[in-house]
Symmetry: C2
Subunit: 185 residues, 2 copies
Amino acid sequence: MRADAVRNRAKIVEAAKAAFGERGLETQMEDVAKRACVGVGTLYRHFPTKDALVHALILDKFERMAEVAQAALEGDDDPWEAFAGVLRAGAEQQAGDRALVQVLAAQPQETMRAVAEQETKLGERMAELLARAQRAGVVREDAEPDDVPLVMCGLAAVMQSRRNWERYLQLALDGFRAPGAKLPG
Amino acid sequence: MRADAVRNRAKIVEAAKAAFGERGLETQMEDVAKRACVGVGTLYRHFPTKDALVHALILDKFERMAEVAQAALEGDDDPWEAFAGVLRAGAEQQAGDRALVQVLAAQPQETMRAVAEQETKLGERMAELLARAQRAGVVREDAEPDDVPLVMCGLAAVMQSRRNWERYLQLALDGFRAPGAKLPG
DNA sequence: GACTATACGGAAGACTGATTCCGCTTGCAG
DNA sequence: CTGCAAGCGGAATCAGTCTTCCGTATAGTC
């Protein structure tokens, strides 16, 4: 690959992250190109369609989240903090990326398929974090691994509607907390 | 207004409810017209833009919900059932209308403005139902009126992503339930 | 320094779907 | 029964974006 091509690809990815993060999916390809100081033709040589570009960005976010979950599994936070921390990190991630929020709230079939592998990995790690927290008695016994994406999906909609998502997250965490456990951290 | 115009308007509204309910906002004006056995021109004489049509449908849903809430205020269900019943009714309403779900999940500024009045009315009634339930000790003291739209908004996203919304609703209701109160009904 | 495979820019094309327009039809008042 | 204003159908138009195309420029090689 030619040096300038490498440089341009990097510029495009940066520009796309910024543009889609701010404006969401209705961002136009030309805007991305302009931000990257590149022609649309160049943009299309690197990503054959708008969808492909979006998928790449979303995939990246999921990979990052899966890493965060892995770190939590290996870290030495107490079980509650490990679990809640990942949820909070996910929320922050969403808060800074309108396109991600739109995708999570609407879950277009195809986009999700492109991300399936990382999603599974993330899901498994969250399941383990959840199980540990349950064994420690700080999360309700009847919480299920599938409750996590349920909550994150709802969070996306709350963010999109510019409502108080911090409050939503707090309520959700409260919901996971075991009845007997002390005030959540 | 001429008799055939009245008839057509009714057909259009019916057709639009069905079409937008099934296919959501990406429903095309021509589809609505076809369903109503009417030309697009006729459709546009009754509703000047697609947005106007959607707003009318959404407004109708909100009015209906406000009525449901009013009925709950006047009915003789116990405070928990009155409160939870309206939430469940709202969920059912959403479950049958993809366009409504899309609007609730994304809350396009303009659509919500068109519905503001009914939304306020509904909000006030829910607030009263919530307050009654709190006085009866069956809902958490720290629940707030604004938590309700938060939850319903999240529900919309969960539905859109074809996840288990009944589970989500159950978790949300559990979240409202006072810690001491018996198993929710 | 010359050559060529790569890569670039951005105007033009293609598509999709909303909206307009206008000649034809029809309800209904007189 | 007539006249015509109100209403109708749907082809044509318009608009907004994605995507393609191709003449031009350039990195890397000999």
